[in-house]
């Protein structure tokens, strides 16, 4: 079902995603301030809405410093990778029936592959910086991503079993009777945790951990290269929120309002939830993070997969 021209979908999704990433910076600071009984940025423009613009001007006019000891080519390339991979992931997100750039039949695998490739940005950025804190941050990022990638994929297999397809539009279509968050609640929780870890957001921001590693992998970055990491992170949160919406909360499905509005509302709710988690939870120690991932989340995702498969077989499904 293709109503719109793909170019229009590309332009529209790019426009919304890039602007959302900018607005999110303002939203996050205002929401964090609200939950900490402060005001946040409220001086630039009405309600401080022009704050992202002011930040962008500041970043553009800053000295674009490449340390003399850095590996220049890789150092410049690294921030671009995170933006590219996240934007590529948005290719497969079905915003509403017909509004999707590429309706791949292996869309879910494509998303997992792209989010894994995003690690390269951090590993290369930390490596090229030639700074011990950057290197420590990128080592942590690599270990964390590999560990949480495993059960991120496994936690989604339950959804695939229920929907019988890797195509995201089909997965949304299969949720017409019941959102997958009900039969796959455990899978939803696992994906939520894995998604938090994948976006390197607090409480899983060990790769940057400003209280331990200065700024982790982007210690040496300044100007718009730092801005790319920044924007990439916010687009990553948007991506994970959109994926949760698509996989567990029925995507565009909902009564009354147009499908696009439903999709945006659900995604925004999860974005706010991500910010709330950042406001509330402390960062775990690195060994706690790893043992939690391998000893708790990984077995749980296997149990979830087995139980879902058994249920579908015993109820005479496919």
């Amino acid at each position: 079902m293709r109503i719109y021209h793909p170019i229009m979908a590309i332009v529209g999704i790019l426009f919304v995603v890039l602007n959302l990433a900018a607005v999110l910076i303002w939203v996050e600071r205002r929401l964090l301030a609200l939950w900490q009984d402060r005001y946040g940025p409220n001086r630039v423009g009405p309600f401080g809405l022009l704050q992202p613009l002011a930040d962008a001007i500041k970043l553009f006019t800053k000295e674009d410093w490449i340390p003399p000891f850095a590996d220049k080519a890789v150092f410049v390339l690294a921030p671009a990778i995170v933006v590219i991979t996240v934007l590529l992931s948005f290719v497969v997100i079905p915003v509403s029936p017909g509004i999707v750039v590429a309706d791949l039949n292996i869309a879910l695998l494509f998303f997992l592959a792209m989010s894994s490739l995003g690690v390269y940005s951090i590993v290369l950025g930390g490596w090229a910086s030639d700074n011990k804190y950057s290197l420590l941050g990128s080592m942590r990022a690599a270990a964390q991503m590999i560990s949480y990638e495993v059960f991120m994929g496994l936690s989604l297999m339950g959804v695939v079993i229920l929907a019988g397809s890797f195509n995201l539009s089909d997965i949304v279509g299969a949720q017409r009777k019941m959102w997958f968050v009900i039969p796959q609640f455990l899978g939803f929780l696992l994906f939520l945790v894995a998604g938090l870890a994948e976006t390197r957001r607090l409480p899983f921001d060990l790769p940057e951990a400003e209280s331990e590693l200065i700024a982790g992998f982007h210690s040496e970055y300044s100007g718009m290269k730092f801005g790319m990491f920044f924007v990439g992170e916010y687009m990553g949160i948007t991506l994970i929120s959109a994926m949760i919406t698509v996989l567990f909360f029925g995507g565009w499905l909902g009564p009354g309002l147009p499908p696009v509005i439903w999709f945006l509302l659900k995604t925004l709710a999860f974005l706010c939830f991500f910010i709330l988690v950042r406001a509330a939870l402390p960062r775990p120690r690195f060994d706690q993070l790893m043992s939690w991932g391998w000893k708790v989340m990984f077995p749980l995702s296997l149990v979830n997969l087995l139980a879902t498969g058994a249920m579908v077989l015993s109820l005479g499904g496919r």
């Binding site: 939950w35 402060r38 005001y39 709330l276 406001a279």
Partner: protein, 171 residues
């Protein structure tokens, strides 16, 4: 796990609590009457300068931000030829106010003196002098001091008896 959810919920409830931030330029902060801010030189009720250029403030100043030069007018009344405070050095400790024997130098509840150029923070005597008595409305040093100046002889000050004539035996 439950404690994590409880934490998140408690943080969320803060959305409905009043904010503690004061919107400063619109909502002015309360400053106590004895707040130690911008330094002024006051005048006595007659409108004359209170400062007698005794240098005590410059001596007591721990950061040496006060500079002045004493001189006398035709009545023999001491006053500062120039009086300069470098507010980029001043730490607003208030020692000068404590040291001042004539209540001339006083600290006021005002701190909004930011400048773009450091040199603009050096205040001269005309910037410091105010047309008022400050915290001590009725006080006039030259009227209570037992010092002889032009227009006032010994024994003519307030609370002062005329001087005793040592060459006279009468009671």
């Amino acid at each position: 796990m439950l404690s994590l959810l409880r934490t998140a919920w408690n943080v969320f409830l803060h959305a409905f609590q009043p904010r503690v931030t004061k919107q400063y330029p619109e909502q002015p902060a309360y400053l106590a009457p004895r707040w130690r801010g911008r330094i002024v030189l006051t005048r006595d009720p007659d409108g004359g300068e209170r400062c007698v250029a005794c240098y005590l403030c410059a001596v007591v100043c721990p950061v040496d931000c006060i500079a002045l030069q004493a001189t006398e007018d035709r009545h023999g009344r001491r006053y500062p030829e120039f009086f300069r405070i470098n507010f980029s050095r001043c730490i607003f400790c208030g020692y000068c106010e404590e040291a001042c024997p004539t209540y001339a130098i006083q600290l006021t509840p005002d701190f909004e003196m930011a400048e773009h150029k450091r040199q603009s923070l050096v205040y001269e005597k005309e910037d410091l002098l105010i047309n008022g008595v400050g915290k001590y409305p009725g006080y006039n040093f030259w009227r209570v001091a037992g010092v002889q100046i032009g227009g006032k002889c010994k024994g003519q000050s307030e609370n002062e008896a005329p001087p005793t004539d040592l060459h006279d035996l009468r009671p």
